[in-house]
Symmetry: C2
Subunit: 434 residues, 2 copies
């Protein structure tokens, strides 16, 4: 290290996969970090409930009481990597109260309880950063906060849960949801309890943060409309593909004159769109700004090292800016203030739809269905009709509609489901319409 | 504007497409910019050699002597949008000498003459930023400088010239180079003199900046190996597609133990790779970091509004950080210092190759060619042989090789071209091997 290198002491709580990766990156890349920033980041104190003998051997202080790190006067920057909400919130509050800048990867905490923490950081006058909370290693929050700061953001749309995207990528080759889920669990791509990932909760947490940073509105997790991927059939992915689409679990936030939409649901995307070609556990976020137009950010959305890339970048930024007046730093949610959020109800959201009907094979049933759709002003763009299924005696009819509101499509679906020819609930998927 | 909004006075030189777009963005998005940054950016002085009556009408000072802007004590931040090297360099020197932070979109200037300007900015203690110089609206320099600051960068590979990418995208459907170029010129996608774009010079300028920021080496434009796209035949794009590849004009910089490679040339990319699906005038840059893995940044690489998006983002950053100590700002080329550059000669670069031979139709000519390749240790991955061409009496043989050095492939190509069966120079294209 040269003489000009400033030493900054780092404390972290949570020594799992990401915590270990952060320690690895700080050690392995110390030289390049110092060459870029003039700063040497030294891990001095780690909070690990089950201990961390490997660190203690290197002379790093280890506390099983994680709160000792947040209070340690010999720590300059605090990193929260415990996950969960309750302890993590208490820990960050204590670190901020002790005047320490905080970096966290905790999306649930920021989305559900971030506002008071951000207010506290602002009041104390220290940064609170969480790049790793959204899309892992992709520097998407920095792009929204700084790279695109000249733009009115019109919408953001992303594939921001790697587990769900892995499952859908595998299902695209005809495998069933449950089969792929079991394999993903065995391979470590899915948790033992995969609810957060496959029901869209994790994606909704991340979307909450993206929307807040894009539009300057409060973190408003409860307002996200969420559908998971558990009801998807691989035959729907196959029909969609025949129509020129891939099915992805998309998180989308859009600002219009009517207000803001935030929604997470399975979505048909044209095969030649970049988002449709984001496969496996990878993530991508597309951003539409009024000046820049469309831009896309792609990379690993999870994994220890990719997450550590973002955590350490935040720590470098905090360390570089230590001692700055708070108005010279970039606000955590990109805006100085948050204007009240005006939500667009899901009923008023406009989409093109993929509809799959299972009907008893009678003459003119397709004509009857399209006629009923037409009565409600729903036009058809494409149709597929399949031969009678041997076991169920039903015929599958797949239709792509032009864009209509949810209220309209739900009303006409209810009318169609009441027909005697209809043998099962209608499958309804949205088509990406931006 | 609220009471807390700080006013920052902006002067700009060059009132063409980008200059006008910058003025438009600053006016249209003043509210959102103030909400994000607490700053109101006010254009006070514009240098326009041919005048700008529309601005004068709005009460903005206009000087036909552009240097008056760089010296104006009532300008806080200077933007250079004139293009070219000589006047732009003089202008920036004067602005810096007057203690003003400078933002520029001038890739040729930074790549060819950036080092002394950056040194001057450092010495004066003001920022010099140029996000718009590489890939237009994509915040790729910010990503390299800050978002990925925890990483050792292993390589960057991009499609960073929209004109060349537009031409190749159109040629992929069988059209000829010259036909597409004429159309692109008519549509305004290509300049009247398209040399910089189609010969790879513009891409080499941008690659110079990307490499310097990725690896912490000096700006070293003369070291870039460059091949343009003018010699490409649409039949090569067609053969490549049959083998599962798209042909793109790729700019690539890689760091290895041997040193640094910087090269711009037509390149085969597997059809399912994201880079292969970047079409038309769009740009994308892929970055491989040791922690983050692969990440990609996509968007509009040119155009007034997209370029203005990056210019204004830089101005916001400069305005926010005005008065900071220089070590608290991020260095323009991401590193505090530049270590000497150790170049890998193109002869030592290793690639898989696409080779097209035009041979007189004699028995065993394919066997003869593959045997000669084998003698030099070059293995074949795939082959296509076409029937005799009616006019030329020649047969096309297309081979994909495994990875070998340029020195090896050039030696064996020279030997093969000396065979009596060979009726034309061999076409050689590189396959992306990362």
């Amino acid at each position: 290290m040269g003489d000009n290198v400033k030493e900054v002491r780092v404390g972290l709580a949570g020594y799992g996969t990401v915590g270990k990766s952060v320690v690895t990156v700080l050690a392995r890349n110390a030289d390049v970090i110092a060459r870029r920033s003039g700063i040497h980041l030294l891990v001095t104190h780690v909070g690990a409930r089950r201990g961390a003998p490997d660190l203690a051997e290197q002379g790093i202080k280890v506390s099983q009481d994680v709160f000792e790190v947040a209070r340690d006067p010999e720590v300059d920057v605090c990193i929260e990597l415990m996950g969960g909400v309750t302890t993590a919130r208490d820990w960050i509050e204590i670190a901020l109260a002790n005047g320490k800048p905080v970096v966290t990867a905790n999306k649930a905490l920021i989305a559900e309880a971030g506002s008071p923490l951000i207010a506290q950081a602002r009041q104390v006058g220290v940064p609170l950063l969480f790049e790793a909370a959204v899309a892992g290693g992709i520097p998407i929050l920095k792009a929204l906060r700084e790279g695109l700061s000249a733009n009115q953001i019109e919408w953001v749309a992303g594939i921001i849960n790697g587990t769900a995207n892995y499952i859908l990528t595998e299902m695209a080759s005809g495998r069933t949801f449950s089969d792929v889920l079991l394999e993903a669990q065995a391979a470590g791509y899915a948790e033992a309890d995969p609810t957060f990932d496959i029901e869209g909760i994790d994606a909704a947490h991340k979307l909450t943060i993206l929307a807040s940073m894009s539009f300057g509105v409060p973190l408003s997790y409860r307002d996200v409309y969420v559908e998971g991927i558990t009801a998807l059939q691989s035959e729907d992915l196959e029909y969609a593909h025949r129509l020129g689409y891939r099915v992805k679990h998309v998180a989308l936030a859009r600002q219009s004159e009517a207000g803001i939409e935030m929604r997470v649901h399975p979505t048909l995307i044209p095969c030649d769109a970049l988002l449709a070609n984001v496969n496996g556990v990878m993530n991508a976020v597309m951003v539409q700004g009024d000046a820049v137009g469309s831009s896309l950010y792609y990379g690993a959305g999870a994994g220890g090292m990719a997450t550590a890339s973002s955590v350490v970048a935040d720590v470098i930024e905090v360390a570089r800016h230590s001692g700055l007046a708070i108005e010279q730093t970039v606000p955590p949610l990109a805006f100085q203030d948050a204007k009240p959020i005006q939500m667009v109800s899901i009923d008023a959201v406009c989409s093109a739809f993929y509809l799959r009907f299972q009907v008893r094979d009678k003459p003119a049933v397709l004509a009857h269905i399209t006629e009923m759709l037409g009565e409600d002003g729903v036009s058809i763009d494409a149709a597929i009709q399949k031969p009678v299924h041997e076991q169920t005696d039903l015929v599958s009819i797949v239709l792509l509609t032009q864009a209509v509101t949810e209220a309209v499509i739900n009303r006409v679906i209810a009318r169609i489901e009441a027909l005697p020819e209809i043998g099962a609930p209608v499958t309804k998927l949205r088509v990406l319409s931006l």
